[in-house]
């Protein structure tokens, strides 16, 4: 008695889990909550969402926000209930597939066989045709024609008089390969979540770090350290449209430089499973004390040049003269007011770096000039040309750092999905039986067959078969 009852419950749960209804409910719940998740901004300061909610709820917005926040909607893709929904979806997918797989597996495993005359009759796709020639000739021409329309393995059964072949039997499994791929991707996601990490690293030019900051602000140590030698943004012509962001990174392990790479947005650095992506950059004037103005100074008339690297308010010699130069001011993005002609800083990013250089002879200031990195016409001075190469040290590179040991499963899943979908949508299981018989000196041919998809195309193939016979 006890057994029967428990079995009843198991069966009932199984029935619920295999039901399409559950799938539809979970699909709908995931979709609807996801929509909410795109409307409510995720992982941002509360003010931004409260501001948005005010438009709808007016004064009660902060209260509404509290409720939404408590329910996890402000970080919902990580909330327990959303993950639970994804889990139920996965379980449902597995169980639905298991429920239907054995039948399909049998179909996919069993090779084609000659069929009984009654079944043959029910599957006839073309009326009987009569052909000239002997039975054996017809058999060989049918075989040849079948090969022509794509059936490579043609079998003949003398007893039933059937020539038969099939194609794409395994394409029936395409749906299951696709389902499996979804599970692989989810497994990859879980593995990455549990055995990987994800964080951010801001490095000034010249800075070194051996740990990164995780999303919740805690430090994640690395097995090695990373140094940023240089960061640079380049722009399209005279615009402020960025062309590329690059960081020159060096990996240091046991006090040795083991890897050097210039990374850009679509080209990260990988070392020991940890990947560094170029994510952002910013300008930080607080670091000016450790910064260097890198310049190329061309002596008047001469073709030779000299590299100069000085800090703010440090002097340098202008070659071939007795003049000393000194950077007394700088701007990350210098602009000119069109009306007043005054200079100002128009951006807090290093869009148009400039150095203000004071020239002096025997302690007396003789000339002052702005030199702009992006505009060569500003490089010319009365004492030779000064090219500003970089204000090095005030720019930070923002790196997205990740270790994801599950990513190969995700890629494998993607591959499975591509293969599975191809099989499911663009291939079909086609079976064909051609009955050839000799009656009263005439040879008759009857074609039976079936295709589980793309029936029209199959029909056209049969057309070409019967026509050429």
């Amino acid at each position: 008695m006890e057994d029967k009852k428990s079995q009843g419950i198991v069966d009932r749960i199984w029935n619920i889990l295999t039901s399409i209804k559950l799938a539809v409910v979970v699909f709908t719940l995931i979709s609807v909550t996801s929509i909410a998740g795109t409307l409510i901004q995720q992982q941002v300061e509360p003010e931004r969402n409260i501001k948005m909610l005010t438009k709808v709820f007016g004064d009660s917005a902060p209260a509404v926000f509290k409720v939404i926040n408590a329910m996890g909607f402000t970080d919902m893709y990580r909330s327990w209930w959303f993950l639970a929904l994804l889990f139920i979806f996965a379980v449902n997918l597995v169980i639905c597939s298991i429920d239907r797989l054995p039948g399909i597996w049998k179909l996919a495993k069993t090779p084609i066989r000659p069929i009984e005359p009654e079944i043959f009759k029910s599957m006839i796709v073309r009326p009987q045709i009569q052909v000239k020639g002997k039975l054996e000739d017809t058999v060989s021409s049918v075989t040849a024609e079948l090969k022509k329309i794509g059936f490579s393995n043609v079998l003949t059964d003398g007893k039933s008089g059937q020539i038969y072949s099939e194609k794409g039997r395994y394409s029936r499994l395409g749906v299951y390969v696709t389902h499996l791929s979804i599970l692989l991707i989810m497994m990859g996601g879980i593995e990455g979540k549990f055995f990987g990490f994800d964080g951010y690293l801001a490095l000034p030019e010249g800075g070194t770090a051996s740990s990164i900051e995780s999303r919740d602000g805690s430090k994640i140590p690395l097995e090695f350290s990373v140094r940023c030698d240089d960061f640079d943004v380049s722009f399209y012509d005279d615009t402020d449209t960025p062309k590329s962001y690059v960081s020159n990174l060096v990996v240091i392990e046991n006090n040795k430089e083991v890897l050097k790479k210039q990374i850009s947005v679509n080209d990260p650095l990988r070392y020991k499973g940890v990947v560094f992506y170029q994510a952002s950059y910013f300008f930080n004037p607080d670091n000016i004390a450790n910064s260097k103005f890198k310049m190329k100074v061309y002596a008047q008339g001469a073709g030779s040049s000299q590299d100069v690297s000085v800090g703010l308010d440090q002097s340098f010699d202008v070659p071939g003269t007795k003049i000393k130069g000194k950077v007394v001011d700088y701007s990350p993005a210098v602009g000119i007011d069109n009306k007043t002609g005054e200079l100002f800083t128009y951006s807090n990013q290093m869009n148009n770096p400039a150095a203000f250089i004071e020239f002096s002879e025997a302690g007396k200031t003789v000339h002052k000039q702005w030199v702009l990195k992006r505009f060569p016409e500003t490089w010319k001075t009365p004492f030779g040309s000064i090219q500003l190469l970089d204000i090095w040290g005030v720019q930070y590179t923002g790196l997205q750092v990740r270790k994801d040991p599950g990513v190969w499963l995700v890629y494998l899943g993607c591959l499975f999905m591509a293969v599975g979908l191809y099989a499911a949508f663009f291939m079909s299981h086609r079976r064909i039986w051609v009955h050839v018989a000799e009656e009263k000196g005439k040879t008759t041919v009857t074609v039976a067959g079936s295709a589980n998809k793309n029936k029209i195309q199959f029909d056209q193939k049969i057309d070409s078969l019967t026509k050429s016979l």
Partner: protein, 361 residues
């Protein structure tokens, strides 16, 4: 000739083709039918050449190689490519199903969209690629996504026609559904046109224009009266479509489109669109995101909406395969799928912020 002149030729061709297709339906004269097809093909060829010319122009400006010169980086270019995909899909249907009846629907949509792009003065300048888009994945990810969007658009059109042809009574849920959907679509288009005429001066770039001014002249106006009038307008349009839907039905019925062909086309377009969307949109997108951002899935609004769209179409396919859904029920699912597609394509970029808001700066 530059690309915009060639696009102009395509626009004119599609509008002429519309006239020819309507004449063909009216007179059932096969010569007129052939002329209509010829004009459409001519337009399509010009459209295709224009696309390549623009690629060449892009190549010259961007200097980043052919893989990164695909002119599909802003709304202007994507709309033009979308129209190209739809015409391609239409021509395939015309030759496979040997019916010219859809031409009278598709060519005006194509012609009008191109003409609207032209008249609106949407920025045609070529903008070089921002660093995030400088990847060889751009080509496959974006083109395949748009091919899928176009396939879904065709399934939407055939599903709506199916609903129009098969509904009998005004009390039918399906009748109310298709007339309301059509009414809302017409209202949104009308509201966007009003925005456009009201704020034309501000249109320096299409994305920022629509982003800041969408529905500002109607539903989001600062004046309460305008909002009220717009809402009444919405109601009136829906009611008008609801009330006169039978006329549309008569027009579509007179085109001799069998409902089985419509049902089959809805399914076929989705059966093509779904795998292309999964591979090009979701998988290639995830691989690219993994390589550029270090995350294959970020639950960014665009990703989330494409997942929702994917769910709807997956539901469509399972309902059809496992439950044998046909006819009106499945047509409604196809319509819902396309509403989600539209939101993935345009709504996300125009209304929400996220990683995919390129060109909005």
């Amino acid at each position: 000739m530059d690309s915009s002149q060639l696009f102009g030729i395509a626009t004119i061709a599609y509008i002429l083709a519309m006239v020819a297709y309507i004449a063909y339906l009216a007179f059932k004269n096969s010569t007129i039918g052939s002329i209509a097809t010829t004009i459409t093909i001519a337009g399509f060829v010009s459209h295709t050449i224009a696309f390549f010319v623009r690629t060449a122009e892009f190549l010259e400006v961007g200097q980043m190689g052919i893989m990164r010169a695909i002119p599909l980086t802003n709304l202007y270019e994507s709309l033009i490519f979308f129209v190209w995909c739809i015409i391609l899909g239409y021509l395939v249907i015309e030759f496979k199903y040997k019916t010219k009846s859809f031409g009278a629907f598709i060519t005006p949509i194509a012609g009008m969209t191109l003409a609207f792009i032209e008249l609106s003065g949407i920025h045609k300048d070529i903008h070089p690629l921002v660093p995030a888009l400088q990847s060889n994945w751009l080509l496959s990810h974006v083109t395949m996504s748009f091919l899928a969007y176009a396939a879904f658009a065709i399934s939407f059109a055939t599903a709506m026609m199916y609903l129009a042809v098969t509904t009998e009574k005004k009390k039918d849920g399906a009748y109310i559904f298709w007339t309301t959907t059509l009414g809302v679509f017409i209202t949104i288009l009308a509201a966007m046109c009003i925005d456009f005429f009201a704020f034309k001066i501000a249109a320096s770039r299409p994305e920022s224009f629509i982003k800041s001014y969408l529905f500002k002249a109607t539903f989001r106006s600062s004046s309460g009266i305008v909002v009220l009038l717009s809402t009444i307008g919405l109601g009136a349009i829906i009611y008008a479509v609801y009330n006169y839907g039978h006329i549309l039905k008569k027009v579509i019925t007179s085109f001799n489109l069998s409902k089985d062909v419509l049902d089959d086309l809805t399914y076929k377009s989705i059966a093509v669109g779904f795998p292309v969307f999964t591979l090009g949109g979701l998988i290639f997108g995830a691989v690219w995101a993994d390589q550029a951002w270090g995350r294959y899935w970020s639950w960014d609004p665009k990703e989330t909406w494409s997942l929702i769209t994917w769910f709807v179409y997956a539901f469509f396919l399972h309902a059809r395969y496992l439950r044998g859904w046909k006819g009106q029920k499945i047509a409604i699912v196809a319509v819902v799928g396309f509403v989600s597609t539209i939101f993935t394509y345009l709504g996300v970029n125009l209304l929400l912020t996220g990683l995919h808001s390129y060109g909005a700066q």
